[in-house]
């Protein structure tokens, strides 16, 4: 197979759409097709680096992916559950506006809800916010940032007075102590972790403390790892402060000059003795002491945190209690110091800046503040902004489930995957009279519930700005025209606004003099300029910034007020003055409260959810690439070895994980990262990839069927990081495994079709696999793998199984004349394997192209790698069909893939490692030199280091 290399005729500087790191990318395109991506060497977030996800972005924009997975034209579903039919844009928008106007007229503006996304651009967000709060007259606008950063927002505001991360990435280099808590930075923010690795290399004195219930790759890197019990963070922070006070590691001068409320906090902290906290958190007292001494006495100290603190019923308290430590030690506002919230989504920050949440207003204004409401009303030219707080994410879907919200507008997010308590979410989507889903991808679970589907542009097509974790605003620029009939989100909101203005003339009549429309926008820049004006005089003042300056001076941190020069401000609060009424930061004397749903006899396990290294959210984008399933290939619940043994489980056994709200069937895997009594399921496995039916025939809704809607009373962020669950082995003796290499232009459609069919069985999971090569889409013979698993308690009836097998064989291409078969109909056993000769030169031969196993599937353990690794199989002959779990003869798998970029496997690394000598760093260098692993995006470097530590040098190498 040769990969034609297109000359890159156009290069576009833009920003990665994945996490809040906000890396700059250079998009290469030819004739309206994206063909390459590379890190922008000039972008101050990443300086040219990209992680596994970012470096494969161009592949997700390949024509084959677009054709198979993108929503390319407006669709209308005349009947729920029916096939959505194409509809013209004009008719679609007319219908949308009329239905919403109708609900508003009949039930009032509180009867509609808008649910957006931290992946919308600032401009999109701005128009949406103005539409909902300025025109419709409700604050029922929330976004998936509620699931992500709202506790960080509330924590900052409760202590520092404003939602502003005070530190910057460069602080990694200056810190003497790094405290990572509730964050698996190695996986969730790989490029930041590369910077941390660099900082540690350059500054050997730097100490890394990691607190996390899971022994993650981040934890593996730590000088001190604190495996705290789930939800015990506040106790930990109070305990640390207790020790700092006892050992005089606090900065009394700073406390006196710049803070208030310390006495109240002291009173709370007094009870958190080291012994008590060690007991609460489940860690040794000595480690607690060591952490306090490094954080308080080995300064500067920088704390990095993410969803472990945020996704909690006490998320605001956790954030605030951590910030307490920085205020008490004065570790804020100076190089290498500060409480630094790592943002999950690419533009959660930008969304907060425009006030695109149910409790926020433009430019960090508060809905609860009458003066702020008036300021915003004046800026927009409307009589008022409604005072009644809007429904936050969980509340919004609960209200819809109760029938209180009649119409829902969902943009750029997939609540039927990502929201906790899916049963309620699905009920809400079913009960709402009218659901609009404005999406780039047609494949999300939420699309199934839409009455109207509006195709939106996405990365590579969009135009606007985003703000990353360190308050840095970057441009997002279009490299190619919109796919199909897709339109920009801001433009869709603009059109909806104008149509609603026409349908609700009484509202337009009330506009302030001189305002004809709230939506005069012709381009994103005109939106942005209005947003810029709203920031004047605010903490995030960017009146000195412009698109032109972003073009010439590059991405800028806020604030950057008019006359403030050409560069933004690196750090906040250097002068110790805070944006509070009295200029002092406030200590938060919060009490430690354990997680909402304690594990008990009935639900004895604590379920944690989190991100995988190579996946993103509901996987509508990353899930299109087989190679991003190389790191973690299939859904699994990670279980401690002792719990596996206690439950009588071996790796791959199906278990039912059950909470008070729902259940999933999922294979169990032994994991060294888990503590006993705690299990973990990646947040990505929604019903698109993992489903089935329960005993009552109800559809299983993926991981978030289990998670709980309990939320933080302040931030309203739900506790996705903890749910009490029960785990029991399930006997589903009838099993089916199918796997195939399919043409790239077909594989994703097949996956969708298979998923739709297979969801009717008790258990179903279906994922892509493979390696998309350099990603040039012009190669017609490029292949993508699809892996399907199904199981049920008993074999389907004969009249159902034959058509099922025939259909699957058709989709997986296992029906050709070169298919090997084994059939024992009476035992419901069928195995079919299609082999294909490559016919390319010597040493080539038959490769397994596809297989289907029904009934007895034990042999998939060794057959699967044969297919996936394209190993020659002619020597095996009919033994390929053998039912044994043991491979016949000398079948050897390449093993688990570690490096996605260069496809380097663990056995390859283990084989080479004994020859490497020297320090960990030197051995890493030798490994990288020889195998190239970890030399591109570097995301696997923590895994490599772990392997190095675990693999001794050979005697001769010593």
């Amino acid at each position: 197979m040769s990969i034609p290399i297109h000359p890159v005729s156009q290069q576009t500087r833009s920003t990665c759409p994945y996490c809040g790191t906000g890396c700059g990318v250079l998009i290469g395109s030819v004739g309206g097709q994206i063909v390459s991506v590379q890190g922008d060497p000039e972008h101050p977030a990443n300086f040219g680096r990209l992680c596994t996800k970012g470096s494969t972005l161009h592949l997700t924009a390949a024509a084959s992916v677009t054709q198979q997975t993108r929503l390319l034209r407006p669709l209308h579903r005349a009947q729920r559950g029916g096939e959505a039919q194409p509809i013209a844009w004009d008719a679609a928008m007319a219908m949308a506006a009329e239905r919403f106007a109708d609900v508003i007229r009949r039930h009032g503006p509180q009867a509609v809800g808008f649910y957006g996304s931290g992946q919308l651009l600032t401009e999109d967000y701005y128009v949406l916010n103005k539409l909902v709060k300025g025109l419709v007259g409700t604050n029922n606008l929330d976004t998936n940032s509620r699931l992500c950063m709202s506790s960080a927002v509330a924590g900052y505001k409760a202590t520092l007075g404003s939602d502003a991360p005070p530190a910057c990435y460069e602080d990694f280099d200056h810190a003497e102590t790094l405290f990572i808590v509730g964050a698996n930075t190695a996986w969730a923010h790989p490029i930041l972790f590369r910077r941390i690795e660099d900082a540690r290399a350059a500054r050997p004195s730097q100490k890394l403390i990691v607190a996390d219930p899971r022994r993650t790759e981040t934890a593996d890197m730590a000088d001190l790892y604190l495996p705290i019990r789930p939800g015990s963070d506040v106790a930990l922070f109070h305990g640390l402060l207790h020790i700092m006070l006892a050992e005089n590691l606090v900065d009394h001068g700073y406390i006196a000059r710049h803070t208030q409320g310390f006495e109240a906090l002291q009173a709370v902290v007094a009870a958190h003795t080291p012994a008590a906290v060690a007991e609460t958190c489940g860690i040794p007292v000595a480690d607690l002491l060591q952490a306090a001494r490094w954080m308080g006495g080995h300064t500067p100290t920088l704390s990095l945190y993410c969803q472990g603190l945020n996704q909690s019923s006490r998320g605001t308290d956790k954030n605030a209690a951590l910030i307490n430590l920085h205020l008490a030690t004065g570790q804020i506002g100076k190089p290498g110091a500060g409480p630094f919230s790592l943002t999950g989504q690419p533009n959660a920050m930008g969304g907060r800046e425009v006030g695109g949440m149910a409790n926020l207003l433009s430019a960090h204004r508060d809905l609860g503040n009458a003066q702020h409401r008036e300021e915003v009303a004046a800026l927009w030219g409307v009589p008022e902004v409604p005072a009644q707080p809007g429904l936050t994410a969980v509340e919004m879907f609960e209200a819809a489930a109760r029938g209180e919200l009649k119409a829902l507008w969902i943009a750029c997010t997939n609540p039927a995957q990502s929201m906790p308590d899916q049963a309620t979410v699905r009920r809400a989507l079913e009960r709402a009279e009218f659901v609009v889903v404005q999406e780039a991808f047609a494949t999300t679970a939420t699309c199934d519930y839409a009455d109207l589907l509006l195709p939106a542009t996405t990365w590579g097509e969009k135009d606007g700005t985003v703000t990353n974790s360190e308050r840095r605003i970057s441009r997002v620029r279009p490299a190619v025209p919109p796919a199909g009939e897709a339109r920009h989100d801001w433009a869709i909101f603009t059109e909806l606004g104008r149509r609603l203005e026409a349908l609700l003339p009484e509202r337009v009549a009330a506009y302030r003099p001189g305002v004809g429309t709230l939506f005069p926008y012709a381009a994103p820049e005109s939106v942005w300029l209005e947003h810029r004006e709203s920031t004047r005089g605010r903490d995030l003042d960017i009146t000195g910034l412009s698109y032109a300056l972003l073009d010439t001076a590059g991405p800028q941190q806020w604030p950057l007020p008019e006359g403030g020069g050409s560069h933004g401000q690196q750090r906040l609060y250097a002068d110790g003055r805070f944006p509070t009424a009295d200029g002092r930061a406030k200590f938060a004397a919060v009490a430690f409260v354990p997680p909402k749903e304690a594990a008990d006899a009935e639900y004895p396990f604590s379920l944690n959810t989190g991100r995988l290294r190579d996946q993103w959210h509901g996987m509508s984008r990353t899930g299109t690439l087989g190679r991003l399933f190389g790191h973690v290939s299939e859904p699994a619940v990670d279980v401690h070895p002792d719990d596996m043994q206690r439950l009588g489980l071996t790796d791959g056994d199906l278990v039912r994980v059950r909470s008070r709200r729902g259940e999933v069937l999922i294979p169990a895997l032994t994991s060294g990262a888990q503590m006993p009594g705690q299990v973990h399921i990646a947040m990505h496995w929604g019903s698109e990839f993992l489903s089935g039916r329960d005993a009552g025939g109800e559809r299983l809704q993926g991981v978030n069927a289990l998670t709980q809607p309990a939320f933080c009373p302040t931030s309203k962020q739900p506790e996705l990081k903890h749910a009490a669950v029960a785990i029991e082995p399930v006997a589903l003796p009838w099993q089916l495994v199918a796997m195939a290499w399919l043409p790239a232009g077909k594989a994703l459609v097949v996956r969708e079709a298979v998923a739709a069919l297979a969801r009717d069985f008790a258990f179903f999971s279906c994922v892509p696999f493979g390696d998309e090569g350099s990603g040039d889409d012009g190669s017609a013979d490029r292949q993508v793998g699809v892996l399907l698993r199904m199981a049920s308690a008993k074999a389907p009836e004969a009249e159902r199984i034959a058509p099922l097998i025939a259909q699957l064989e058709g989709w997986f291409g296992v029906q050709a004349s070169d298919t090997l078969r084994y059939d024992d109909a009476a035992r419901h056993q069928h195995r079919a394997m299609r082999v294909a000769g490559t016919g390319e030169g010597e040493g080539e031969g038959e490769r397994l192209q596809a297989f289907l196993m029904v009934g007895q599937v034990a042999s998939q353990a060794w057959v699967r790698p044969l297919l996936q690794e394209r190993q020659p199989v002619q020597a095996l002959g009919t033994r390929l069909l053998s039912p044994s779990a043991q491979p016949p003869g000398d079948v050897v798998s390449r093993g688990k893939q570690v490096c996605t970029c260069f496809n380097v496997s663990e056995p390859q690394i283990m084989a080479f490692l004994p020859q490497c000598s020297g320090t960990e760093g030197e051995r890493l260098g030798q490994l990288q030199g020889a195998l190239k692993c970890g030399t591109n995006c570097g995301s696997c470097v923590p895994a490599l280091r772990k392997l190095i530590r675990e693999t001794p040098m050979a005697i001769e190498a010593l």
Binding site: S817, D818, T819, L820, R821, Y822, D823, D824, A825, A826, R827, Q829, V835, E846, Q856, G877, T878, R879, L881, S882, P883, S884, Q886, P888
Partner: protein
């Protein structure tokens, strides 16, 4: 291994006389078995209709295919008979038996008295009673003479039709094709070897033979052999009127037990000489019958394995041991066409109440069907890979339960053992 022939000692009682009619595989195998256990009991006389010593009839096909010579397939050369003191009359068909006087008379008048008589007259090819069946160029395929006739015809003629798509017909067709003839097999059945293969495996076989140049007319009724001006066959005409050019027609449409002599001497026959479990004829306990001419419990076997089993029992009884009993054979078949491996045994078609395990590897042209009933293997049909045929055959014969190894059975009994280990 044969026991050395001992010179009869004067002190020993006079030996009994054993006469064997039929110098083929069944008769001589019985003699060999007898010599092993009772070398001194009989004076043995053998009459053979063919002018050859005992040869391996089932290897005629490799001879026809040019892979072996007649000399290669001789089982017992003339000096073997001499070394064992056996009187051999080659080329002397027996025409009469005086059962009262116990004397055998051959066509040339040679006589031999007997105490025990063994009939091993084999079978006769079935000649379709169609017009033209006696034309020049229409042959059967049974013995060395037939084989030589076919080899000769292939040297001088172009087109051959083989009537009968059974084992013998296909071997004949293959041999003639290898000798350069354009061969068409005319077969009454819906698929080839319908007594040995199921439709699917027969399809694989037909494809393979087709790839070697053979052509086939299935479900085809032969109506006549048509003559040319010289009275030699020129074509085979089917009932639908189709004419297939043929300078040579091989009738391989089955065999009939050769019971002409047995009938003539008053032995009860019904598609074979009726024999008991000791292989004695029902009519005359001094007379035994083995091989293709015998009908045991309603079965006349045309294959070598049952014949050998009969020979062992018959010899045991002739030796006066009387402890052997023949209760019938499970049969399995092979096709002797180089490069084509097939094997079938038992109820490979799968009657009601059976379950089938089927393994197919079209890449290597492998087909395996195992038929189970009540947890035991009752039939097997293998094509392309017959490595495990005899092991399956043993399982079928034993009737043992294979339930525990069912899932691995198709991969060979040794795979099952390895898995259990």
């Amino acid at each position: 291994m044969h026991a050395p022939k001992k010179e009869p000692a004067m002190s020993t009682p006079p030996r009994k006389q054993l006469v064997v009619i039929g110098n083929g595989m069944a008769g001589i195998r019985t003699v060999e078995e007898l010599l092993k256990i009772a070398p001194d009991l009989y004076d043995i006389t053998v009459f053979g209709a063919e002018p050859h010593p005992n040869y391996n009839r089932i290897m005629l096909s490799p001879v026809l295919a040019g892979e072996q010579t007649v000399d290669d397939i001789v089982l017992n050369p003339v000096d073997w008979y001499a070394a064992h003191g056996i009187t051999l009359h080659m080329g002397k068909p027996v025409t009469a038996v005086n059962r009262r006087q116990r004397i055998v008379t051959a066509a040339d008048g040679t006589q031999a008295p007997y105490d025990r008589l063994l009939l091993a007259t084999g079978s006769q090819p079935f000649v379709l009673p169609v017009p033209g069946h006696d034309l020049q160029g229409v042959v059967t395929y049974r013995d060395i003479a037939d084989t030589n006739a076919m080899i000769e015809a292939a040297r001088t003629h172009r087109h051959a039709v083989v009537i009968g798509g059974g084992l013998l017909g296909l071997e004949a067709a293959n041999g003639l094709a290898l000798r350069g003839m354009a061969v068409t097999v005319v077969h009454l059945g819906d698929w080839l070897l319908e007594r040995q293969l199921d439709r699917e495996s027969a399809g694989l076989l037909q494809a393979e033979l087709g790839a070697r140049g053979l052509r086939f007319a299935l479900s085809a009724h032969t109506a006549a052999c048509l003559a040319d001006a010289e009275g030699r066959v020129r074509a085979v005409q089917l009932k639908d009127g189709t004419e297939i050019p043929a300078d040579l027609v091989v009738m391989a449409a089955g065999v009939r037990p050769d019971v002409r002599l047995a009938t003539a001497i008053g032995l009860q026959c019904n598609r074979g000489v009726l024999v008991s479990d000791t292989l004695q004829t029902l009519t005359d306990p001094r007379i035994y019958a083995v091989g293709e001419c015998a009908n045991h419990r309603g079965m006349a076997y045309g294959l070598v394995a049952p014949l050998y089993e009969q020979a062992a029992v018959c010899a045991n009884h002739l030796a006066d041991f009387g402890i052997g009993r023949y209760v019938g054979s499970q049969v399995s078949t092979k096709l002797k066409v180089t490069g084509i491996d097939l094997f079938s045994a038992g109820d490979f078609m799968g009657a009601d109440g059976t379950e089938a395990i089927v393994l197919r590897d079209p890449v290597r042209g492998i087909y395996k069907k195992l038929v189970l009933k009540n947890g035991a293997l009752v039939g097997a049909c293998l094509y392309g890979d017959i490595h495990d045929g005899s092991a399956y055959f043993e399982l079928i014969r034993s009737g043992a339960s294979v339930a525990a190894q069912r899932d691995t059975l198709a991969f060979g009994p040794q795979a099952a053992t390895a898995l259990a280990a």
